[in-house]
């Protein structure tokens, strides 16, 4: 077959430019997320280049991880690849049908039943009616919503909604599949199922997949190649391990000794919630980025609710500096159901003798579980644990494991 030797996707010099505020007689409209990318010399004023000269080729069956900090241009690139919007420059050749999954449940109609929505959503995602009918039972089984097929989806729990939506999308059969950070919804068991399905789609069916995620573990597990975007350009491209290391090194933000504070216009967040500062302190209450292994680490997050927000939770992700997830903490059980506008503070205390002697990264994610993201997971601070106080401290060599909790251990002679 001729197209096995031709690349599946060829992108040449893609650029995407937004015009900032294109007028109106009396008002200015805002366009893209401002502040993500500074203007460069030689740019026309008022123009905002979200992507510049992005080129890559992808072979059939490749699973491509797209990495980059927020605002690096990942979403714009996916939008261009999925033909939602046009590039300003450059061209892309796609040798196959494309389906995009930029959001779970796009086009679901709340008033229609689960059954009706399977057909509606399937068709919107590009499936033929007959294809949907043929896969109908499989979709229902995957989503585990059998008993509620004829109930309007507005009566579904958010978990059911997400399962049904992902089930439809997972049964798409395009040659090229574009996926944007949708796996982070649903419970753990369902997430695992989704990752399994993605793996199957990519490796057994030989499809080409583009996968945007901040979950570096998933990227490492699923992808065989990665592209790192930085300020709208390709900063690195190649094997996941190398690119992930590069990403982690480059994404260490400008923090001074375990503290980062944002001015209101640069703060991560949206019109609901905005982060204000994130601080790491040691047992003495001093700001620090290096901690003794036996001492607790306090993570102090301050944020502002700009509107009333219902059901919000904040998650603290602790990754090792190699990008492996160590654990996740949340304030969900302590968080009030209805957050009134105001300034708040969430403090987590990571007990001493829990962490291993190594570098860690701290990411914060703010969402309404199963419903929407307010602030997608983003890495903000790094810190190092060393010295004495944990189980491994008596050994000079690096100790394996993302954490190194103190484990009770008894040795005795029994006979």
């Amino acid at each position: 077959m001729s197209n096995t030797i031709q690349p599946m996707v060829e992108a040449h010099g893609i650029g995407k430019c937004y015009r900032l505020g294109d007028g109106g007689l009396f008002q200015r409209r805002d366009t893209p997320p401002a502040g993500a990318l500074g203007a460069r010399e030689g740019d026309e004023p008022g123009m905002f280049w979200c992507l510049r000269d992005v080129s890559f080729t992808v072979q059939r069956g490749d699973v491509v991880g797209l990495l980059g900090r927020n605002g690096a241009g990942k979403s714009t690139l996916l939008k261009i690849l999925s033909r939602i919007t046009e590039p300003t420059r450059g061209s892309i050749r796609l040798r196959g049908r494309v389906a995009s999954l930029l959001e779970v449940g796009t086009g679901f109609h709340p008033e229609l039943t689960g059954r009706e929505n399977i057909f509606l959503n399937g068709a919107i995602l590009g499936m033929k009616r007959a294809e949907i009918a043929a896969k109908f039972d499989e979709i229902v089984e995957f989503a585990e919503v059998g008993a509620f097929l004829d109930t309007p989806v507005k009566r579904y729990s958010s978990g059911m909604f997400v399962r049904l939506a992902f089930a439809v999308a997972a049964h798409l059969e395009p040659e090229i599949l574009l996926i944007d950070e949708v796996l982070a919804v649903g419970d753990a068991a369902f997430q695992k199922k989704c990752l399994g399905k993605m793996d199957e789609v990519a490796h057994q069916h030989g499809r080409t997949v583009f996968f945007v995620s901040h979950n570096l573990g998933a990227v490492r597990a699923l992808c065989n190649t990665t592209i790192l975007l930085q300020d709208g350009t390709v900063a690195a491209q190649g094997a996941p391990n190398e690119v992930i290391a590069r990403y982690l090194a480059s994404s260490a933000p400008d923090e001074a000794g375990g503290h980062i504070a944002w001015p209101a216009d640069k703060a991560p967040g949206n019109d609901e919630v905005r982060l204000a500062s994130l601080t790491l302190t040691d047992a003495l209450g001093e700001r620090a980025s290096f901690f003794e292994a036996g001492q607790p680490v306090t993570v102090d997050l301050r944020y502002e609710a700009l509107r009333r927000v219902r059901g919000m939770r904040i998650q603290l992700f602790v990754h090792t500096s190699e990008g492996e997830l160590a654990f996740v903490a949340t304030d969900h059980l302590r968080q009030v159901e209805l957050l009134d506008p105001g300034t708040y503070r969430t403090v987590w205390t990571l007990p001493g003798a829990l962490l291993n002697r190594r570098g860690y990264n701290i990411s914060i994610c703010c969402d309404v579980p199963g419903e929407r993201y307010i602030i997608p997971a983003q890495q903000f601070l790094t810190f190092t644990v060393g010295g004495a106080g944990n189980q491994s401290s008596h050994f000079p060599e690096t100790w394996p494991g993302t954490v190194c909790p103190s484990i009770e251990c008894k040795v005795e002679r029994v006979s």
Binding site: I84, G96, L120, I124, R207
Partner: protein, 291 residues
């Protein structure tokens, strides 16, 4: 890596080229055809979703125009005293509202294509043209229901001796509705393309539609507009005027019969559709950047 299965093997030579500023006139008709199932399903959705969680359900498709026919009969004929010839005024209005309600529904919904679907369009690609076409098709169901109501009243008035007569000429409704569909689709495309950057026209559309309705012989006979011969060309220049008037002619047997004017309506509608398609096609490529 395992062998790709048959689904993963596109037809040899299947290729999508993405680049800025595709040709001005280049429309991907083949792709539009490939998405025909989506059209069917969107039409179904529109129809199903409209009357969910209402007590009277699909009856609203009938009640709405019926109520406005009654209100307008009172306003125009009982109060303002406009004569409707030998035709009972309710029947006169019901008949004219068939094409007009269809037209105004199409334009109202269709012109909001980009604004009402901004979320959907921002997340998934399909030929955007499907959406306004689906609007025009799904409104046909409402039209059919209204036709049923019209025939019930028609039978009732005829049994009471109203001088109405309908023959095979009633079949001319089909081309009349076709022209209405073309004109309203074209206008929807033009207006929605213009709302891609600036919303101003979205605010103006309902007002213009209302003005247009009063400028068309919906609640009064065409004769009223063409009395002054030197201005009658202006009345006929309105493509909806001849459609509404001819609907009454073919269904009630009363009104003017001017095929030439119908031909003008048809040509104007086709031109509007052509211009609308170009404008829409141009706007859809980057519309998500600004909605």
């Amino acid at each position: 890596m395992s062998q790709p299965n048959e689904h993963a093997s596109p037809a040899p030579g299947y290729e999508i080229l993405i680049e800025p500023g595709r040709g001005f006139l280049r429309m991907n008709w083949r792709e539009l055809w490939e998405y025909r199932d989506l059209l069917v399903i969107l039409v179904r959705r529109d129809f199903l979703a409209k009357y969910k969680q209402t007590m009277l359900g699909p009856l609203w498709f009938i009640l709405q125009p019926l109520l406005s026919a009654v209100v307008m009969s009172i306003a125009f004929h009982k109060v303002a005293g406009i004569a409707t010839g030998s035709i009972p005024s309710l029947l006169f209005n019901l008949c004219a509202l068939l094409p007009w309600a269809y037209f105004s529904q199409n334009v109202t919904t269709g012109s909001a294509t980009f604004t009402a679907n901004s979320h959907l369009f921002g997340k998934v690609y399909f030929p955007r043209l499907i959406v306004p076409i689906a609007t025009v098709v799904s409104n046909l169901f409402a039209l059919v229901l209204q036709l049923v109501v019209f025939f019930i009243f028609y039978g009732w008035f005829a049994a009471r001796g109203a001088p109405v007569h309908m023959g095979t000429s009633a079949l001319l409704m089909i081309p009349l509705i076709a022209i209405t569909a073309i004109l309203s689709l074209g206008l929807s495309l033009l207006i929605s393309a213009s709302t891609a950057k600036f919303r101003d026209l979205a605010h103006l559309t309902p007002v213009l539609l209302q003005l247009w309705m009063f400028a068309s012989p919906v609640f009064y006979p065409m004769g009223l507009l063409t009395k002054n011969a030197s201005w009658s060309w202006l009345a006929w220049a309105n493509p909806m005027a001849s459609i509404v008037e001819h609907t009454r002619t073919v269904l009630l047997g009363e009104g003017v019969w001017q095929p030439a004017m119908l031909a003008v309506s048809a040509v104007v509608s086709l031109i509007v559709l052509f211009a609308g398609t170009i404008a829409f096609n141009h706007a859809e490529r980057t519309v998500v950047d600004s909605i």
